[in-house]
């Protein structure tokens, strides 16, 4: 059980989303930075798919009426438990009645708070996530919201702290060209990969709007609506990329020049307005599933 005393600018309940419903117009949604959500859950002994809180720009104050084990991951924030400073990326035990206060992140954007047992709100289509675009799932947290916590938990992991993830000031995101890079001039992809793009304040869980050298099209007629993926760099007529994040629409009507590689999507979700980002086309390989077999196959 937890009571929200101050919700911060935007705090929502998130898990790993609701895949499989896109044909009905319902996107996957879920935590913007999945790696941080998974880590927060592991640190308190939850299944990785449990629901936790996602804060945008910190700012949360919450009271725990009963003893609770919690963990904070993602964008590093100053945090206190009843005024005593606590660290990120490790399990913390709160006694009954204690208050957790999370400040403004020093880097990145989104911080995750997991509690042991997970947050127990009624699932919708198999997920407890708030989809800010479609309005499915619980509404964003407000003052005096009470959240129930679940009881399904695993054994505690035998660690006190997880390695801290580095959040870079000028991250480089690897991209896979396509599906519509042939709709653009031959220079467009080069421009995209040699310029810095600034993240504008007009960014949210749906997408990050970027400002930089415009990407020009050669095919100018309308694109019939087509399916969109998380990480898509959609280019509206003004040539400024929109990077689709967790709550992106299921379909879109502007061509996608490239898609951010799966391995860099969490980093993309941590982009902060005012920050610059760069793109790179060199492939980001998935680690081989069976390294031994790969090695022995060599002559």
């Amino acid at each position: 059980m937890m009571e929200i005393l101050r919700p911060g600018p935007l705090t929502t309940v998130q898990d790993l989303g609701r895949p499989g419903h896109a044909a009905l117009g319902v996107g996957t949604g879920g935590a913007a930075d999945r790696g941080s959500l998974r880590l927060a859950n592991r640190l308190v002994g939850n299944a990785e798919s449990a629901a936790a809180l996602e804060m945008t720009c910190g700012g949360l104050t919450v009271r725990f009426p009963v003893p609770t084990t919690l963990a904070l991951t993602g964008a590093p924030c100053p945090a206190t438990l009843d005024g005593r400073q606590i660290g990120m990326n490790g399990p913390v035990h709160a006694a009954a009645g204690q208050e957790l206060t999370v400040g403004f992140p020093s880097r990145a954007l989104r911080t995750y708070l997991a509690v042991r047992g997970g947050i127990d709100v009624p699932p919708v289509l198999g997920s407890r996530s708030t989809d800010t675009l479609s309005g499915i799932g619980p509404t964003p947290l407000d003052v005096s919201t009470h959240l129930a916590t679940g009881t399904a938990a695993l054994r505690f992991p035998p660690i006190d702290f997880a390695p801290r993830r580095e959040f870079q000031d000028q991250p480089v995101l690897h991209i896979v060209p396509g599906p519509r890079n042939d709709w653009f001039t031959s220079e467009a992809l080069t421009t995209l990969c040699t310029s810095a793009y600034e993240v504008t304040s007009d960014s949210n869980r749906v997408g990050a709007r970027l400002a930089g050298p415009p990407l020009d099209r050669t095919i100018r007629h309308e694109l019939p609506p087509e399916g969109m993926v998380r990480g898509a760099l959609q280019i509206p007529p003004n040539g400024q990329p929109v990077l689709f994040l967790a709550d992106h629409p299921v379909t879109g009507g502007y061509p996608v020049i490239a898609v951010v590689h799966e391995a860099d999507l969490d980093q993309a979700a941590q982009l902060r307005p005012g920050q610059t980002v760069r793109f790179h086309t060199s492939p980001r390989r998935r680690p081989p599933r069976n390294r031994r077999a790969q090695l022995s196959a060599k002559p």
Binding site: P19, A23, L24, T28, P225, G227, M228, V229, P249
Partner: protein, 205 residues
């Protein structure tokens, strides 16, 4: 299948020739999902397939698709949904003017056409219905409304639809319906799923 385009590290975009082909291939994949297929998004001329790279490969999906797209596949008995409509929409007169028809003729043409749900998008339960009378094909309103009432029956471009909930919208509003387009209590929650056939029935209240 015209082409298989790359859509990032875990999705492919299948380009097809016609909307009918999209509906057929989607129906075939929906009824017999390839291993590792996570999600399907049928659209106007494409079908997006997102997949789990631990369970399948682009090559395996391509092989599976080429074995399906040649054969015509139709579900034996398409579902038919009738939607009651009161034709009192705020854009009726404007649609009549733009299409050079009388209001009565706009209503007649909208109501007699036979529609198929081509794909869903925009909002949960929002279905793009193909089959709109070509005389009623109009571009979207130049400035979208900030709020369209739930149940609004609307047209734009080559599609007809019904707004499932209050939202912004740039389509032309012909009327309203009491039909419940989206309910999470229902399985599936969307009344109009891809492949469903739809008829609009004029009612007076």
């Amino acid at each position: 299948m015209r082409a298989l385009l790359t859509a990032g590290s875990r999705a492919v975009l299948v380009e097809l020739d016609t909307l009918e082909e999209v509906i057929q291939v989607h129906e075939s994949l929906r009824l017999d999902r390839p291993v590792g297929c996570v999600d399907l998004v049928p659209a106007a001329r494409t079908l997006l397939i997102s997949f789990d790279p631990d369970r399948t490969t682009r090559k395996a999906l391509a092989d599976d698709l080429s074995s399906r797209t040649g054969a015509t596949h139709r579900s034996p008995q398409p579902r038919v949904v009738e939607i009651p409509v009161v034709y009192d929409g705020t854009d009726l007169a404007e649609v009549a003017r733009l299409s050079g028809l009388t209001v009565g003729e706009v209503v007649r043409r909208h109501g007699t056409a036979r529609y198929t749900v081509a794909f869903c998008g925009f909002a949960p339960g929002f279905a793009y219905l193909s089959g709109l009378d070509p005389a009623l094909h109009l571009p979207r309103r130049p400035v979208p409304r900030t709020r369209v009432a739930p149940g609004s029956v609307a047209i734009a471009d080559q599609f007809a639809s019904v707004y499932p909930r209050a939202s912004p919208g740039g389509w032309h509003l012909l009327g309203r319906t009491s039909a419940e387009l989206w309910s999470i209590e229902r399985q599936p929650p969307s009344l109009l799923t891809p492949g469903t056939q739809v008829r609009f029935i004029q009612v007076t209240s």
